[in-house]
């Protein structure tokens, strides 16, 4: 696949999910979900709490084992070729977990070392990630002393460290103030042409702002998969919020 031209129209999707299902006992958290994301796409993953967003993302990152179905990242099956899939993936887990006693720089250096960087390249990667997420001012602070917004950006920096072709970000702007949200959205937009990006969010305006496509999931099933503009036409008011309510409320009741 490296020989393919980046903007070729028939390029294989960087993320391919087929019939992905996850059951916990009798409860089906994710039910036969299929979609593909190509380079240049920013997919907004929407849905009420408990709809299966994080579970789908965890399966995509190889953290949860699907009950059925397959997920591929740049052609690598997340179960059979797990390490290769994770090498080309940048993943921000829900809640942006980090080791509290480590400094921001120490944490990023650890992640970079695991990803096989060393010496000057490692320092460059860490500096670059700190720059992208504007964390230079707190690089030596222990993560536990940082505010929620900073912690979230540390998690984001970790996901961007190796400049992965595929980014899966679970609520990347949660806990950020409006200025920081604006910055992160700008960052995602700038990276978008080179990558396939999936973000989950509760903030519908974000979908309009950065996503080229949106999937709404409710009760573990995909109930809509379209561009934000197309989705808005689903409801007479033309507001994404009303479309979201109309599509997800029956499941919630």
């Amino acid at each position: 696949m490296p020989s393919r031209v980046a903007d070729a129209p028939n390029e294989t999707a960087l993320i391919e999910i087929q019939g992905l299902t996850k059951r916990f006992g009798a409860f089906t958290a994710v039910d036969n979900v299929s979609f593909a994301v190509r380079r240049g796409e920013v997919l907004g993953f929407l849905g009420p709490n408990g709809a299966g967003k994080s579970t789908t993302m965890r399966m995509l990152a190889g953290f949860m084992i699907p009950t059925a179905g397959t997920a591929r990242v740049q052609g690598h099956d997340v179960q059979n070729d797990s390490v290769a899939a994770r090498r080309v993936l940048g993943f921000l887990p829900e809640g942006a977990p980090t080791y509290p006693e480590m400094s921001v720089e120490g944490f990023l250096r650890f992640c970079a070392r695991i990803r096989g960087f060393s010496g000057a390249e490692l320092a460059d990667r860490v500096d670059h990630a700190l720059g992208l997420t504007t964390l230079q001012g707190v690089r030596l602070q222990p993560v536990e002393t940082l505010s929620k917004g900073f912690k979230r950006r540390v998690g984001l920096a970790q996901a961007l460290l190796h400049d992965p072709p595929v980014l899966v970000l679970d609520e990347p702007t949660d806990g950020l103030d409006p200025n920081q949200k604006h910055e992160v959205r700008g960052l995602i937009e700038r990276m978008a042409p080179e990558k396939a990006i999936v973000i989950s969010t509760h903030i519908l305006e974000e979908v309009d702002a950065v996503c080229t496509r949106a999937i709404i999931i409710a009760g573990g099933r995909i109930v809509a998969d379209a561009t934000p503009a197309e989705l808005e036409q689903h409801h007479p008011s033309g507001r994404l919020e009303d479309v979201f309510r109309a599509l997800t409320m029956p499941e919630a009741a």
Binding site: V83, P97, I114
Partner: protein, 243 residues
């Protein structure tokens, strides 16, 4: 292997970044010293060896090692960092081995800090330092065995208290399996089992080391023991990581 060592080094630094390391090492040295000098009658015996020291150390390990290992995986789950760690491009085996090596290195450091005992017997008499060295090797292997049990138990449950109690219980079974009380009882009632428990017992093997005997079968025993529990640990992490 590099990735395993990166994980191990991060873990080891984490011990010393928090008060865990200091508190643990101080308690270990005080407890081990008190047991050796008082209960072990180090001075009254009038012998230049570390037998009293080696007699008590597995029991101190039995109590303290599960206290270190109970947080190994439970803490990763509590912080959510398990999701981060296991979505980095490493195998679960590397993560398990890295954590184990860090804990083992930590115990090696704690053991090294018991050097005043060695100096003391060398000043007071002329001990067989070869026997002492082999005893220390035995200590390290017992620590490794108990650590591997504790680490696996930490992966069983996200509750640290349960992980601690399970680890103590299992280590205790392996520790007393060769005890005459247990063995005589089994020999009378279940002769087949008595033979088996003597073979799997940790203390008998350890005693060989404290007598200065480094037998290949004992080394293989410890390697198998640790290998088995690390494998169990990997399976448990795989099965339960997302619970």
């Amino acid at each position: 292997m590099t990735k395993t060592l990166v994980i191990a080094s991060r873990e080891l630094h984490a011990y010393f970044a928090t008060p865990v390391a200091t508190v643990f090492i101080v308690i270990f040295l005080v407890l081990q010293g008190a047991l050796t000098f008082n209960l072990g009658q180090f001075f009254d015996r009038g012998q230049a060896d570390l037998n009293a020291f080696f007699t008590f150390i597995p029991w101190v390990f039995l109590l303290l090692i599960p206290a270190i290992t109970m947080r190994l995986w439970a803490e990763e789950r509590r912080l959510g960092t398990i999701e981060l760690l296991l979505t980095l491009p490493i195998t679960q085996g590397q993560a398990v081995l890295g954590k184990f090596l860090a804990a083992w290195a930590f115990f090696a450091i704690a053991l090294l800090l018991t050097f005043p005992f060695v100096i003391a017997v060398n000043i007071l008499g002329s001990p067989d330092n070869g026997v002492i060295a082999s005893g220390y090797l035995g200590c390290l292997l017992v620590a490794g065995a108990f650590l591997s049990v504790g680490a696996a138990m930490s992966a069983v449950t996200r509750n640290q208290v349960i992980a601690f109690v399970l680890a103590v219980a299992i280590c205790f079974v392996f520790a007393v399996a060769s005890n005459p009380i247990v063995n005589d009882f089994l020999a009378h009632n279940l002769p087949a089992l008595a033979e088996f428990t003597r073979r799997i017992a940790v203390i008998d093997r350890f005693t060989d080391f404290t007598r200065g005997i480094i037998a290949l079968r004992d080394v293989i025993y410890f390697a198998t023991f640790i290998g088995f529990f690390l494998f169990l640990n990997t399976v448990l992490v795989d099965q339960r990581k997302a619970d």
